[in-house]
Amino acid sequence: MSNTNRPDTNLPEPKEFARRIRAHALQMVHAANASHIGGCLSMADILAVLYTRILRVDPNNARAPGRDRFVLSKGHATAILYAALAECGFFPVDELKTYCKDGSILTGHVSHAVPGVEVSTGSLGHGLPIAIGMAIAARAEGRGSRVFCLLSDGECDEGSTWEGILFAPHHGLANLCAIVDFNKIQSFGSVAEVLNLEPFADKWRAFGWHVEEVDGHDGTDLERALSAAPVASGRPVVTIAHTVKGKGVSFMENRLEWHYRAPSAEQLAAALAEVGA
């Protein structure tokens, strides 16, 4: 298997993929009167690059042993993940309409009952340790598969996240790629106000990681950073993606309330117009 781009497929360019999944997520959150649209939109471009350019996953063989693993540790940003999986063909796009509805498997925090999802998350600080375990197993088997784990900035408050950050470089997990959706806002305020992470990149470096810092909405930048592993030093790679919470919808950008609110019908129409749906 090539170590760079996935062999694929009929998927569109990242930009177009991101446009589609932003539109789906907005519609899903509106229809379900759900929350977390801000954190969905901030990671749309990351998911778009991962699923169209990076991840070697096959919707027709979702459990193939040699696949790359993707663990969404910020399990609240679920609408956009489900949208990405549907766009990839893991399940029909039409099913996105059942998001958060009675009897649907598309729950408000990520569920591994959904085709293409590796692990259920939702309580923060769980994803990175699990991803580490997957990376250890993949290395032991010499499968050459890589493990990607997307974290929120807020969950870097969790001690368990730092247990993982300490562990991975010690064990030289070169097949592990953490990504932080660094949108600078957490549940109750800005990261700087609630619990400052800075100097953030320096902390990862001091723990022994290879750090890539990128504009998390620039597809080219993201693709380069997410293709970096394995690096020559054998260190795990973290991509700190500087993002904007609510990205793509002007009245949602950098606004804390969109961690909680669902757009009204009028707001949805305006938002869809802005993302180009």
Partner: protein, 310 residues
């Protein structure tokens, strides 16, 4: 018990190349042979139990069987949410092994007394819970969980426990009769069973007919077999080195709860203690203070017997 566990695990690991062992920087002079024999399947994760459980889950979800090992409350209560969300919810093939059941780490104090662990873990979905009473049962339980493909919790005492009972362990999922006797049946779980045997012997000298049965498998709880081994009893006693809340007593009491004709059930275990209660001394002293010494067990049973119409 620890030795029996490590030997059985090593045996299982030499037969099955998918068995891994992670420890939380615990097990000095215990795991060195395993680490030497299977270096690629052994990791000392460091003192980070939440991370250990997550890592074990990730390895298990990649098709392996992962044992994790630490002291009493550390691989259980410290990381209970990881056990719930990561291990149990995914049905990950992770075996949590805790050493130091009950007051086994006596003098080490409150933090090292594991007296709620079995109940708390057993409450989680899909996990099997084993509290063997002697090295033979530890071997049987380790063999079983190594191939069960299910999340499991194995609660070990410490070192030097004797083998109890004369018979071999045929099925670790079933109650094991350590001593025949019909009228009074003491159901136990874990190494405290040895106290029950001594108490039974002394009660016999006073004319009572007392059986002792260890229930190593607390979950799934074999209610049918428990009814079978107590069906002639006029008094059922449960004895556990654990909180009375949610452990063996709760499970036995629940078994009989809906039945119109049932024997009285006396629960002997650790009562909830007030905050700040000082815990010190040997295991014997702590058992004594908790009402779990042989004398206290006998006194408690005799008190029940005196309630009977003569």
């Amino acid at each position: 018990m620890r030795t029996a566990f490590v030997e059985s695990l090593s045996q299982a690991a030499s037969e099955n190349p998918d068995i891994w062992l992670l420890c939380g920087d615990v097990g000095f002079s215990v795991f060195e042979p395993f680490a030497t024999k299977f270096p690629e399947r052994y990791i000392n994760v460091g003192i980070a139990e939440q991370n250990m459980v997550g890592i074990a889950t990730g390895i298990a979800l990649s098709g392996k069987t992962v044992f994790i090992y630490s002291i009493g409350n550390f691989p259980t209560l410290r990381c209970i949410e990881q056990v719930r969300n990561d291990v149990c919810h995914h049905g990950a093939d992770v075996k949590i092994v805790a050493v130091g059941a009950g007051y086994a780490y006596s003098t080490q104090g409150y933090t090292h007394h594991a007296i709620e662990d079995a109940a708390i873990v057993a409450m989680l979905p899909g996990i099997e819970v084993f509290a063997p009473c002697d090295p033979q049962e530890v071997r049987a339980a380790t063999r079983l969980i190594a191939s069960s493909r299910k999340p499991s919790y194995l609660r070990l005492s410490r070192v030097g426990e004797p083998n109890l009972g004369s018979g071999a362990v045929t099925d670790i999922r079933k109650p094991r009769v350590l001593r025949d006797g019909r009228d009074i049946v003491i159901l136990t779980s874990g190494s405290i069973a040895s106290q029950a045997l001594v108490a039974a012997e002394m009660l016999e000298k006073r004319g009572e007919d007392v059986g002792v049965v260890n229930i190593s498998c607390l979950k799934p709880f074999d209610a049918t077999s428990v009814r079978d081994v107590t069906h002639r009893a006029t008094l059922v006693v449960t004895l556990e080195e654990h909180s009375l809340c949610g452990g063996l007593f709760s499970k036995v009491a629940t078994t009989f709860a809906g039945e119109a004709r049932r024997p009285p059930i006396v629960g002997i275990g650790i009562e909830e203690q007030e905050s700040g209660t000082s815990y010190g001394g040997s295991r014997e002293a702590l058992l004594d203070a908790a009402g779990l010494s042989v004398d206290a067990i006998i006194a408690r049973i005799e008190r029940e017997l005196r309630k009977r119409p003569r």
